[in-house]
Symmetry: C2
DNA sequence: CAGAATCCTCAGAGATACTG
DNA sequence: CAGTATCTCTGAGGATTCTG
């Protein structure tokens, strides 16, 4: 990662340059929220209608679905195509950029799957500690 | 990604099962916030003291640094070691779990770097559209 | 069907000041 | 040095209702 390490010996520690933090913000702005990843994952295979999205993602409100979709469209992740039919149909699909993002997100989602045991083991330990210090 | 696709033909669309959404929540809980990734990245190479972290991460308040560190400790990402010296010294380092998370986060951070051009190109397009519709 | 508008709330984030 | 303790305030997100 792009961390600048000043050559001067007076500053012993590296610090984040603004470019690196901007990269972090860039992805977190796109996939750091509650719904984006789920939407991106749902659009993975084929174009999806608004109501299908709402059905596929339990718990999302129409408001959040619309807002997140707009956000993803602005970010160039999602395409929205209108079909002037009756009843009206709007299909949402991933752009090329969105597809590339999907693959990194899949990588991300693999982490808790791969480390399931370590995560669970740690939790029992730290829960025990918490109850001990509380007493 | 673990998406269940019901075999019944009445439901055309896949929907997220709770295990899959839990995986998403799991990482987002850990790296979805503003500071966690920066802290994890700073701890990458060697143990770091509290004040070094504060210096390395511009703009973080003591409160957020403490809060995020505690959160990461609870999650088993970060170790905190106290050295009973004068002046007191506390070193924070990545656990094994934290190191594994770091590598997936580095992968994540590569995305905006790799797609820098596409992202920028799209932004000029959508900005132009925005100003056109606004008029 | 696919949303837009409106209202509400409450957790997260910052600033500031204090302490073992 | 390495944190707490308060206070405040913004804004993400939910519920509900209305519309092209």
């Amino acid at each position: 990662m792009a961390v600048s390490r000043p050559s001067s010996r007076t500053t012993a520690r590296a610090h984040w340059d603004s470019a690196a933090t901007n990269f972090i913000r860039e992805i977190l702005d796109r996939v750091g929220d509650k719904w984006s990843v789920l939407i991106i994952g749902t659009l993975a295979e084929c174009p999806v209608r608004y109501s299908e999205l709402a059905e596929a993602i339990p718990g999302i409100s129409p408001r959040m679905l619309t807002l997140t979709l707009k956000h993803l469209q602005r970010s160039g992740i999602v395409n929205r195509t209108a079909y002037p039919e009756v009843p009206p149909r709007f299909e949402h699909s991933l752009t090329d950029l969105g597809t590339s993002l999907l693959s990194t997100v899949l990588y991300l989602a693999a982490w808790p799957a791969d480390h399931h045991r370590e995560i669970r083991d740690h939790q029992s330990v730290s829960d025990a500690e918490a109850s001990r210090t509380k007493r």
